[in-house]
Amino acid sequence: MKHRNLLLSIVLPAVLLPSRSFAMHISEGILPFSWSLVWFAASAPFLALGLRTLSRRSALDLSSKPLVGMLAAVVFIISCMPVPVPTAGTCSHPCGTGLAAVVLGPTLGVVVAAVALLIQALFLSHGGLSTWGANLFAMGVVGSFAGYFSFRLMRACGAGPVLAAFTAGLMADWATYATTALILAAGIKGTTPFWPLAAKIGLAFIPTQLPLGIIEGAITAGMVSLLSKKRPDLLARTALADIRGEEKR
């Protein structure tokens, strides 16, 4: 069983990663410079907050930095991984920020997304440096916070951790793409009215993202379930701390 999981974890990314990635990230040059600046400014406080959280948490627990690094690698891979959606005939990718937010908390989810998006923009032409702020706001800030609060809300309503994690992944994915539609519409609208254009972009995302959000929910639920069973010690200071408490009782 252990060997099978190890083999799958090596083989699956190798099989699913093509030479070129296909994503929702807003490419270089699509947003006007002024809008790029706006999204940099909007993301910056969340990133600063995340870095402060990282610094504080690592002062208390040294193992938190390697854990954040590992999650950054996971989010990088997940958000590079194109999944073909037969109903739409297109490919898209999950975001991974729902998982990061559940495991690390929402502000560290922003840090993790920032690292993943920067490497993708630099090395894979996936997104762009000028649109990094906009992509970070959609995937990092909105994705992480939507995932985290969905998880907390579901737990508060009495849902189990796996169902709550499923909802977190689902909501992180859908919220990311909804925000991308709004950001894109605001940046490219010109003389076109904002809301019809935003609705047009959002509707165009639906055939791909509706099923993909469900897949992301399943991935998040599976990973949270596995982590809480195999390595509950890693999750002591996170949103999953309450799960650990339940297991101890």
């Binding site: 060997h3 099978r4 083999l7 799958l8 083989v11 699956l12 190798a14 099989v15 699913l16 093509p18 070129r20 990635s21 296909f22 994503a23 929702m24 990230h25 807003i26 490419s27 270089e28 040059g29 699509i30 947003l31 006007p32 040294l62 930095k65 390697p66 194109p82 073909p84 005939g89 297109t90 490919c91 898209s92 923009a121 630099l122 090395f123 032409s125 762009g128 440096l129 000028s130 991308t180 894109l184 940046g187 490219i188 609208k189 010109g190 076109t192 254009l197 047009k200 972009i201 165009a204 995302f205 791909t208 993202q209």
Partner: protein, 90 residues
């Protein structure tokens, strides 16, 4: 175990044939199908990346450099990474 080996073999076959993810031909990403398409309709075109590491062997060089820097940093701080800073009691 036997069944999982068959599953792995099937996944590898799909991966090597590229059947599932040959996106250039049949499966455009939503960045092409939605983001770039609608941006183009609105008169905004995507630009080439500001730093294009995809030219020639530059990407290979950058990955090698990142691996060397990351590897040396992890190696140098390995003990600290695993055990934490120890106070000198002398």
């Amino acid at each position: 175990m036997k069944r999982s080996m068959w599953l792995l073999l099937a996944l590898l076959m799909v991966g090597w044939s590229g059947g599932g993810v040959r996106a250039e031909e049949k499966w455009p990403g939503v960045d092409e199908a939605v983001v770039k398409k609608i941006a183009r309709e609105q008169g905004r075109e995507a630009r080439a990346p500001l730093i294009n590491t995809g030219e020639g062997d530059l990407q290979l060089f950058v990955f090698l450099l990142a691996g060397v820097v990351g590897g040396f940093a992890a190696g140098y701080y390995w003990r600290m990474l695993l055990e934490g800073k120890k106070r000198d009691l002398k």
